[in-house]
Amino acid sequence: MATVLELQNIQKKFKDRTILESVNLNLQDGEFLSLLGPSGCGKSTLLRLMAGLENPTSGTLSWHTAEKKTAFVFQEAQLLSWRTVLENVRLPLEIQAKLSQKEQDEKSHFALQKVNLTSFESFFPHELSGGMKMRVSIARALSASPKILFMDEPFSALDEITRFGMQKQLRTLCEQDKLSVVFVTHSSYEAAFLADRVLLMSAQGGQFLLNEKIIYSQPREDSLRLSPDYHSHIAKISAKMSESFL
């Protein structure tokens, strides 16, 4: 697999506080990478650095792709209340202004199809449930056909049933579209279900305590949550977690 994004000796300080100290990281093409760690460990900062929302204090961040097609999904859906579902999804295309109105609508419609929300196109965000809002947010991220998706704890505000459904749907989507994903979470269960690789971050300084490749003998369906494969990964992550944080 080819590397799409490479981080070398990335350091990030906010005033005098060092959040990340010399981070080295490669993101592979088509890889689902999960950044796992306790609150305040700098995982969101690292994600924002990769997405270009923050600049590193020092170190280099190099892209090995012809064009940088990325999208970001925030913790909250961040939909614009005055726009319908379709108009929210169309926003990135509208700003790019490369396609005709009709093509923009078609692409947005297609993105909504991927998250099974086409029948809600003319609804406003306040008429949707939390899970549906997040699906619209994901459709918006997908509408401009990105290659890399950055996600910052997108499911943390959802109830468990919705969250499980969303995780399954996200994983399927990423495989269909061959996306590379960086997914920040504080749940080892979520990380192990979704990711091809889990990076466990230390509470301070942003060091990686564990670089766990996740491989299963079965597809990522709900039944996976009961499998020994899944639990052995979680056991390994949990052991490392308690070792370093307690």
């Binding site: 929302l53 925030f74 961040q78 614009l80 509208e94 306040h126 401009a144």
Partner: protein, 255 residues
């Protein structure tokens, strides 16, 4: 319509009771009629001078709305300018704050000198008092865009204009509406102050009635002014509801 059902019944009752008490107080000579004309007398005066009152009402309304219209255009434009340039905001906004502390009634005589008798002075007076809440509220709204939404637009490499029209102005809508609610009343105050010195409308009517000791005319004009304010506010509220129905801007803000 829905808003008719929601008429505040207790307020309507206390209004009617108040008018009846007032009428009775005058009728039984508890209060002097030459200082406090009875509601029935005021109504009679209004009916007798119908044409004058209607003409004056329309003049004042016209002056107020023209001033308010200018405030909306220039107020929003200035707020946008201030939100784009921190320097301009710091250079100009403090003076706008300072300027609005000077009572309009004290500025009005100057305005007559600059703009002459009649409508222009009235419009400028209404404009001066009603622009500040629009600037302040619009600016507040433009600067209250949540950080993630700004970042979203940054990630999509939106131009400043796209950011303004697709994000900041829609976000500011509830604040602009709040500013308008205040400004509408202020515009009427400004127009009356302008009319006191420049003539025309209900303001001049009140002023000349005062010199003739026609307190019934003063009361009639006051009643019409209250009606004007209420009508404008109701119109504004209904338009707001209509807008909200089509485009739910800032749903967390009520009415």
């Amino acid at each position: 319509m829905n808003s008719l059902k929601k008429i505040n019944l207790p307020a309507l009752i206390s209004l009617l009771v108040g008018i009846l008490l007032y009428e009775a107080a005058v009728y039984f000579s508890w209060i002097p009629e030459f200082l406090f004309p009875a509601p029935s007398t005021i109504l009679k005066t209004l009916a007798e001078n119908k044409l004058d009152f209607v003409k004056a009402f329309l003049e004042t309304l016209q002056g107020s709305l023209a001033g308010l219209g200018l405030s909306i255009v220039f107020g929003i434009a200035l707020a946008i300018l201030f939100s784009l340039s921190n320097f301009l905001q710091k250079a100009i906004l403090p003076f706008a704050v300072f300027f609005q502390t000077i009572p309009i009634i004290a500025i009005a005589p100057l305005l007559v000198i600059y703009f002459g008798f009649g409508m222009p002075t009235v419009v400028v007076a209404a404009f001066i008092v009603s622009i500040f809440p629009i600037i302040a509220n619009t600016l507040l709204g433009l600067e209250s865009v949540p950080k993630p939404e700004l970042e979203l637009f940054r990630l999509y490499r939106a131009s400043p204009l796209q950011c303004l029209f697709k994000l900041k102005l829609p976000t500011a809508y509830p604040s602009i509406y709040a500013g308008l609610k205040v400004s509408i009343g202020l515009a009427i105050i400004g127009a009356i102050a302008g009319e006191f010195v420049a003539g025309g409308g209900l303001g001049a009517m009140i002023d000349s009635a005062r010199t003739q000791q026609r307190i019934d005319i003063v009361f009639g004009a006051l009643g019409l002014l209250a009606l004007m304010g209420l009508t404008c506010l109701t119109f504004l509220r209904l338009s707001h509801k209509l807008v909200q129905k089509m485009r739910p801007y800032g749903l967390n803000l009520k009415d």
